[in-house]
Symmetry: C2
Subunit: 168 residues, 2 copies
């Protein structure tokens, strides 16, 4: 399910434009990393991108791949699947609910909505597997992050008491 070369060209142009606009350099490795993700139709992790790029630029380091990917994310040129903020989180609340996830600090707030609860799942999706549950994931910047209090970003280290855990 590869994209057309037209499409590729377009995506690459967007990437280049984005970098340029942000005042970032258009290095060889960055471009190749962009190409790799542009042609991907799945949701690759850093390592598989690294592997792909390596075939063309054998010396790229995994670190560069990571750095470039976070940059693309920052620039809004790619999106991410799942929560990033790694660590596994558990939920004792088994009642149907939805989530608001802050893309910056990872804080996850529950919310309930009778209106959203009866999500109708297309049959096409049911063909993918046995559906257990469906919920809405709303992504955005939480209050604290948008008001610029402590910048926790993807770096889980600053203030030990970062707020990345309350909810409900």
């Amino acid at each position: 399910m590869a994209i057309s070369s037209e499409e590729l060209k377009e995506r690459m142009a967007l990437f280049k434009e984005g970098f340029r606009r942000a005042g970032l350099k258009l290095t060889h490795q960055r471009l190749e990393i962009c190409r790799e993700i542009a042609i991907s139709c799945d949701h690759p992790d850093a390592e598989s991108i690294h592997k792909g790029v390596r075939q063309r630029v054998p010396s790229v380091s995994l670190d560069t791949v990571y750095r470039t990917l976070w940059q693309l994310l920052d620039l809004g040129l790619v999106s991410s699947v799942g929560s990033l903020h790694d660590r596994a989180r558990f939920d004792a609340n088994l009642v149907s609910h939805h989530h608001f996830v802050c893309t910056k600090c990872g804080a996850t707030h529950d919310f309930y909505s009778d209106e959203l609860d009866p999500l109708r799942i297309p049959d096409r999706v049911k063909a993918l597997g046995d559906v257990t549950r469906a919920q809405v994931e709303v992504r955005g910047l939480c209050r604290r992050c948008s008001s610029g209090v402590g910048d926790s970003r993807k770096t889980h280290k600053p203030e030990e008491d970062h707020h990345a855990k309350q909810a409900e």
Copy 2:
């Protein structure tokens, strides 16, 4: 927003019942870990649960906390937030789409739905922060996992070629 002691008692009873039914021992540490997660109203990670339990059972190891949590998950007594299957994944597809996530192997498939796209977000949620995007996350067992091909579970190691990455 702590739960009532009534509620706590109920949840604990469910946990105990679940363990007993599964033929698992009701150890002191398991019960305390259950209590800790039962009283939580947020989405704690293993470490904060560990910290909490420690105040009552100073010797519990983090490992035991993890083991117990995965068991609770297996038994369906708690749920998880996000993808577990850690590694960060990226997506060059910026067109609005939704996800089907296999809770066993982590495979994520995109799907599109004109019907689901116009999700109406309650104002209450918008008060939590600036909403960037809203999508439906459907969880379940993918075809391959439900048909019992390779058991990858939470252990990312067996067959090097596990399929946890295709989509679309």
